[in-house]
């Protein structure tokens, strides 16, 4: 009887485990089926390199280059802001902060992760957007820069907690060895701890970026959503101080309108495939780094 019970439980757990893979495969197949249908109407090269996005015109112009570049600009901006702060924060929490401050900081970071992105978007719209507009003297504050700053907040919790784990899993003997050799605290952190945890920190960075590129709501609310190719000029902070339209915001904003079975509808799914490929690549890279770290330790 006991064995039978055990058997049932084991199988149930197995099914639950397989279910998630099964769903991922189903979703991917659905995405492929709907997205690839687009290429009966448009050739893939034109789709990826087209410069105009006018999906509801007759005939529709479905070029997603501005959208891809928009996503990249916002993501790069968010990475530039969140990586240094995130890694430094992880270093402080794991190496420097005394007990109580450490707990408070960790709690704070977890709280940051718990804020829904719509709320962050809304706060950004009311506070950050007017601020960006006046500080940089721009015609509008709805820009890639505002999006990047807000997304940096969203990437931070991921970066901090994964990087902190990586630092924590560096063997104590490394640190003790360095200190025993007469290295200062900072030298130990900079020359020993950081290199030893580097692959874990890289994984943290990749996961953070993965979170940023898939984010939708906040981006849609504060980046202005105009489908233009960002111009890299000094006067607009190398493309950051201008409105952009990301791939995610496009799907979210237009899915409701797209008539099922139209070119527009298939195009949105094709954007979905592009996004899927990008975040899959990022996650695999992160995984590779994590894996390397485990082997070494």
């Amino acid at each position: 009887m006991r064995k039978f019970k055990e058997f049932i439980i084991e199988k149930l757990v197995l099914i639950s485990g397989l279910a998630s893979i099964f769903f991922v495969i189903l979703i991917f197949l659905f995405l492929l089926k709907e997205g690839l249908a687009l290429f009966k109407f448009v050739n893939p090269f034109e789709f990826l390199s087209g410069k105009s996005w006018y999906p509801i015109s007759e005939p529709p112009q479905l070029g997603i280059l501005p959208l891809i570049l928009g996503s990249f600009v916002v993501t790069i901006g968010a990475a530039v802001i969140s990586i240094p702060i995130g890694v430094a924060c992880a270093l402080y929490i794991s190496e420097i902060a005394p007990g109580k401050i450490k707990e408070a900081l960790k709690g704070g970071i977890e709280l940051l992760a718990a804020i829904p992105s719509v709320v962050l978007g809304f706060i950004g719209m009311v506070t950050l957007v007017p601020w960006v507009k006046s500080v940089f003297n721009l015609p509008t504050g709805l820009t890639a820069l505002s999006g990047s700053i807000m997304l940096a907040f969203m990437a931070m919790p991921t970066i901090v907690s994964v990087a902190e784990d990586a630092l924590y899993s560096v063997p104590k003997s490394y640190k003790e060895g360095a200190l025993a050799l007469g290295a200062t605290h900072w030298q130990t952190i900079w020359r020993v701890m950081l290199p030893a945890a580097s692959s874990g920190i890289l994984a943290a960075v990749m996961l953070g970026i993965g979170r940023v590129i898939g984010e939708t709501m906040a981006v849609m609310m504060i980046t202005g959503n105009s489908a233009v190719i960002p111009k890299v000029l000094f006067s607009n902070l190398f493309g950051f101080a201008q409105p952009v339209r990301t791939m995610t915001a496009t799907i979210a904003a237009e899915m409701g309108e797209a008539v099922v079975g139209s070119e527009h509808y298939f195009a949105l799914f094709a954007i979905g495939i592009v996004l899927f490929v990008i975040s899959f690549a990022i996650n695999v890279t992160a995984d590779l780094f994590l894996h390397r770290e485990h082997k070494k330790v």
Binding site: I56, T140, G141, G224, S226
Partner: protein, 283 residues
């Protein structure tokens, strides 16, 4: 991300299906964001008069309303534009026969920041501004500053109406588009907020959204016509050049609760609510 969207839509689909099927006394009304407040006000008064009946009103855009009417997840679609031929064909494939009922009129206001000295524009100037041929306020009599264009997203009936009636001036062969640099904002309120904070912005929305923080531009059909303000009076007598009908779409002839609700919106009481929510009655 994709997973999230699909999951959300599945949940919504089930929730709405469960909701609609649960109770014969309830109807779902969905569509145009322009009409959400109006629909909401109708629903409240209607439910007050007919306790036991339940009317749920949600927005999402005219296109969203049509797609749910076609997929059978709502009973009445609200729309600020006429249904497209493509949508009719699709509906008929699914055995749905959309019927149009005109319930109100709306004036589309073109708004700028109160600090902006420009206060009157012709349709032609508006078309040039929104297609990006005019990019500086000084070209239309304002100060030397770049124009920030604000538009609604493509799922908005207001977007489509403005494009067809202002940018393309009703010419079906015209290929004019919004300038690619135009900011696409997700709601009329977002446009109102941005115009209130940005002295170089210009946007458009239903006249119900005008407040003291924005200035409605006086619009003329052409240079010879008079410049008019979007008021209820000017929309009724046809002087204001950018006004449009608002519709309810239902499947086939109205029956039961749907008929009761539609009749209510066209009744004297229903049309008074139209006036109260800053739209223009049809009766």
């Amino acid at each position: 991300m994709i997973k999230k969207i699909m999951l959300m839509s599945l949940i919504l689909l089930y929730a709405s299906a469960a909701f609609a099927g649960r109770d014969k006394n309830s109807i779902q009304v969905k569509g145009s964001d322009t009409m959400v407040n109006l629909g909401q006000a109708w629903a409240e008064k209607y439910m007050e008069n007919n306790s036991g009946d339940f009317v749920a009103v949600t927005g999402g855009g005219s296109g969203t309303g049509f797609s749910s009417l076609i997929s059978g997840t709502c009973d009445i679609a609200m729309s600020s534009r006429s249904i497209k031929d493509k949508e009719i064909a699709l509906a008929q494939q699914k055995g749905i026969n959309p019927k149009e009922i005109k319930v109100a009129l709306d004036g589309l206001a073109v708004v700028v920041n109160p600090k902006n000295p420009v206060s009157k524009l012709t349709i032609d100037q508006l078309a040039k501004i929104f297609t990006g041929k005019v990019t500086n306020w000084k070209e239309v009599g304002g100060t030397d500053s770049k124009i920030t264009l604000l538009s609604r997203e493509v799922n908005s009936g207001t977007h489509v109406y403005f494009k067809e009636h202002v940018l393309r001036k009703m010419d079906p062969n015209s290929k004019e588009e919004f300038a690619p640099g135009a900011l696409m904002l997700p709601s009329s309120q977002a446009i109102a907020d941005e115009v209130a904070n940005n002295s170089s912005a210009i946007g458009y929305y239903g006249m119900g959204y005008i407040s003291l923080k924005q200035k409605a531009v006086h619009v003329a059909k052409d240079e010879k016509s008079s410049y008019e303000v979007p008021t209820i009076e000017n929309v009724i007598n046809g002087k204001y050049p950018i006004s449009r009908p608002l519709f309810l779409y239902i499947n086939g002839e109205p029956q039961g609760l749907v008929k009761k609700f539609v009749d209510f919106t066209l009744s004297k009481e229903g049309q008074e609510i139209v006036l109260k929510t800053d739209f223009v009655p049809v009766k």
